[in-house]
Amino acid sequence: MAKDIVAGIFCCVGTLFFIIGTTGLLRMPDLFTRLHPSTKCDTLGACSVIVGMAVHNGWSWDLLKLAFIVCFLLLSSATCGHAIGRSALRRNIPYWKKKEANEDGHGA
């Protein structure tokens, strides 16, 4: 029972991170600020959902698979964020300035 509660909490936290991340992706004004919620929160959200699943599952060989998934997720998500950000920087994609945002209301 306690296991279920802990697992539930982890999963809820993960989902919350996803919601925040997606909101950020939609609301943030430019590419660089959008990168921030989408990569960071997705990684954290997915990882805590997986931790929740691991807790729910208990000790078994499946834990190893979950651990691998977490590993690859951390690595690939970070690398993707890095690659996107770096190429955007090198291609001189303009930064967000506060004034422009005010002009069209929502910023994006």
Binding site: F72, L75, S76, T79, H82, A83, R86, S87, R90, R91
Partner: protein, 249 residues
């Protein structure tokens, strides 16, 4: 005018199809014609007859293996069609592609790809070899290998990756799937079976059942290798640039 006609045609087709779907037997009903005719035998006896735990693999490679042979030929045909339109690199000429991306990949990305690709290939080998016991098989594994080659090529460029899988490896292996089927199919003739007999009657006559498993795995490996090579060749043909960078020494 054209748009209206197209819209009318599409909506007529949609109404027709929805009408058919509505009058089709209900989904999941155990009395369906589909559930009572051929399927029960597949579900009940596939493991005993085809020696594959995964019934799907048993059906696509054994009961309906001839269809799958046709499907892998379709895949090969797709490659031939791409090469017919785009042309193919020729022997003795090193081809490259002009790197159009303004940003070269950084060390971090390169290291990560070099680290990940072996794992991806390991996973796909697992998928291919366990096709007869768990979901997956040659098609899926082959596609994953192809995907890993796409990642490698986008980061390191055509020159590097075609050095690792040169034409002389790809050319004979592109048809590995069809060859595997043909080989196993012809082996079926040994001992009086029909084409594509995976030795089931021979097992009944006292041969060891692991033979069937080995033949199934052989076909799976053929499909996986062939699919991977076809995808790689399609990718190379698509990103290859017309100008030939350097003649062979």
């Amino acid at each position: 005018m054209k748009k209206v006609a197209a819209l009318l045609f599409i909506s007529a087709l949609a109404v027709l199809l929805l009408y058919v779907v509505a009058s089709m037997p209900p989904m999941g009903d155990p009395d369906n014609p589909t559930a009572t005719h051929v399927i029960p035998r597949y579900l009940e006896r596939a493991e005993e007859e085809t020696h594959t735990v995964n019934v799907v693999t048993g059906v696509i490679l054994n009961y309906r293996g001839y269809d799958t042979m046709g499907e892998v030929t379709v895949i090969f045909c797709a490659l031939a069609a791409v090469l017919a339109v785009l042309g193919r690199e020729r022997r003795g000429v090193i081809h490259g592609f002009v790197d159009r991306s303004e940003v070269p990949a950084s060390v971090i990305v390169k290291t990560m790809v070099r680290f990940m690709v072996p794992f991806i290939i390991l996973f796909s080998v697992y998928t291919i070899l366990h096709g007869e016991t768990s979901p997956g098989g040659g098609f899926q594994g082959g596609a994953v290998i192809g995907g890993s080659m796409i990642i490698f090529t986008t980061i390191f460029g055509l020159y590097e990756s075609s050095r690792r899988i040169p034409l002389k490896v790809r050319a004979p292996l592109e048809g590995a799937a069809v060859m595997g089927f043909f080989l196993v199919g012809s082996l079926g003739l040994v001992g009086g079976g029909n084409f594509l007999t995976y030795a089931w009657p021979r097992v009944a006559q006292g041969l060891h059942p692991s033979l069937v498993v080995w033949l199934t795995v052989l076909v799976e490996v053929g499909i996986g290798l062939g699919g991977a090579m076809v995808l790689t060749s399609i990718l190379f043909a698509m990103i290859r640039e017309e100008e030939e960078i350097a003649p062979a020494s």
